[in-house]
Amino acid sequence: MTGLLEPALIVVILTNLAITASSRLAFGIRLVATQGVVAGLMPLVLSPEEVTVRLVVIGGLTVVLKGIVFPRLLDRTLRQAAVRREEDPPFGYKASIVGGVVTLGLAFWLTGPNRMPLPAPLASPLQLPAAVFTLLTGLFLIVARNNALNQVLGYLVMENGIFLIGLALALEEPLLLEMGILLDVFFGVLVMGVAIFHISRAFDSIEVDELTTLKD
């Protein structure tokens, strides 16, 4: 039963490509939220026959956190900072899409047959490439964007990627561990939101370039 799995993975890949191409921050927040919800529901899609309370609780918590709480927090930060888009990133948007496609090829190559040993056969051969691509996209966003909010989005995308890789390698993770990770991410976003607010107060912008002018 993987009828929904591959479309879901393709949605994840497409959101990655769209995030690398979009300059509007509000749209980026929506995209990351969509990706988080799709990734959060992935365990349920993977094994629809054996839906346990555990899976439902974790899936539900992930959806609420990534689909509702994070977008609200980030939207609020965006309003306070009064920024709508990142105009001039160090790595331009057209080049970023090309970079995204190259990264996608890299992800497919890295996870190719006989290159990455797996504990068990996967439900879909697309699962691992999509997960690695999401991880690499997050990393790419953190490196290639100058705007603090975009970097937070990169962090969230990377977390989605790690979640998907974990899902591909081990479906049964301890409940405590998953909860711990979700809590960490939640506080991470909360603290980064506050930090961005302070950066915007201090510099009238949330470009992290400004931080280089700091002196002690």
Binding site: E6, L17, A21, Y93, K94, V98, V101, G105, F108
Partner: protein, 310 residues
């Protein structure tokens, strides 16, 4: 064979009609009456009856441009399958020939534009080449993905791809085909200079791309260019429905009628897009085209890695 010849004539006669369909769709949305259905044919006849004016600064390149361009597009027409029949000419690798015949048509149009020495036309040529350089990978990659998907043993013939298409293929690999379809919508709009890439109705504005290259052509030469452009629109519409539409009955005549209706449907779709969208700002057009390339690369990579098991 006879069906293929009939389809070729259908393309030659029906191509300008697509422009009418687009125009009437836009008029209908805007609440206007629109031009007469046969207006494109009248325009072509009017231009053919006129004489041509040639600037003294132009050479034979300028005169050869429209002729070679139309010849290349006509040759490409013989490669495109339609209905239930194969194309008139079908051989291994003909889709590469198809793409480069259209490339040749573009090359001679660009050369003719540069030959006039007008800075204005040079600017149009620049944009045309820049955008087509971005749509070509999208078209080639998605054709390659289709060839692996539908053609079975890596067949690179448009006719084989056309005959291999069925509802079963869609149910097996619908999402790869959906990605290809999205990329092709962008390619179709861009290659035929439609909104949101180019606005075919603007004249003498700094935003236009294709129109600006052909400003100096007149009379029969201009008729050839207009007819070639209409034929190109028909080609892309026929390719789109021929390679992606699973609706097939197996009866030759019925399939031709269905395919014709689908091609008209594509024209209505183009009209709808033009009614609801504005032209994109010039700097954001490459982003759209690179996005189409990214989507077709995704389709190709998924296909390449044998993700879809038969």
């Amino acid at each position: 064979m006879i069906a293929s010849v009939c389809h070729l004539f259908l393309a030659l006669v029906g191509a300008p009609f697509l422009l009418s369909v687009i125009n009437r769709t836009k008029a209908w949305i805007a609440g206007r009456h629109g031009q007469p259905w046969l207006q494109p044919y009248h325009d072509l006849l009017r231009l053919l009856r006129k004489g041509a004016v040639y600037s003294r600064t132009t050479s034979w390149v300028f005169r050869a441009g429209p002729l070679i361009g139309l010849a290349a597009v006509l040759t490409a027409t013989t490669l495109v399958p339609f209905g239930q029949a194969r194309a008139l000419v079908a051989f291994q690798g003909d889709f590469i020939a198809f793409v480069y015949l259209l490339g040749l048509a573009r090359l001679v149009t660009v050369l003719a534009a540069l030959d006039t020495g007008s800075a204005f036309e040079g600017m149009g040529a620049n944009r045309e080449v820049w955008f087509s350089a971005l749509t070509e990978p999208a078209l080639m990659l998605s054709l390659a993905a289709l060839a692996r998907e539908v053609g079975g043993n890596g067949s690179l013939s448009l006719s084989v791809l056309h005959l291999g298409m069925s509802a079963a293929v869609w149910s097996r690999t619908g999402f790869v085909l959906a990605l290809v379809a999205v990329a092709w919508v962008v390619v179709l709009l861009s290659e035929n200079s439609r909104i949101p890439v180019d606005d075919p109705t603007t004249h003498l504005e700094l935003t236009m791309i294709h129109e600006v290259m052909v400003l100096d052509h007149s009379g029969p030469d201009f008729a050839f260019i207009l007819y070639g452009a209409a034929l190109k629109l028909w080609l892309f519409a026929a390719l789109f429905v021929g390679l992606l539409s699973p609706v097939k009955t197996g009866l030759p005549g019925v399939d031709s009628v269905i395919a014709l209706a689908e091609v008209m449907g594509v024209a209505v779709g183009v009209g709808l897009v033009e009614s609801v969208m504005a032209r994109l700002r010039l700097p954001s057009v490459p982003q759209l085209l690179i996005g189409a390339c990214a989507i077709s690369s995704l389709a190709f990579l998924i296909e390449r890695h044998g993700v879809l098991l038969p």
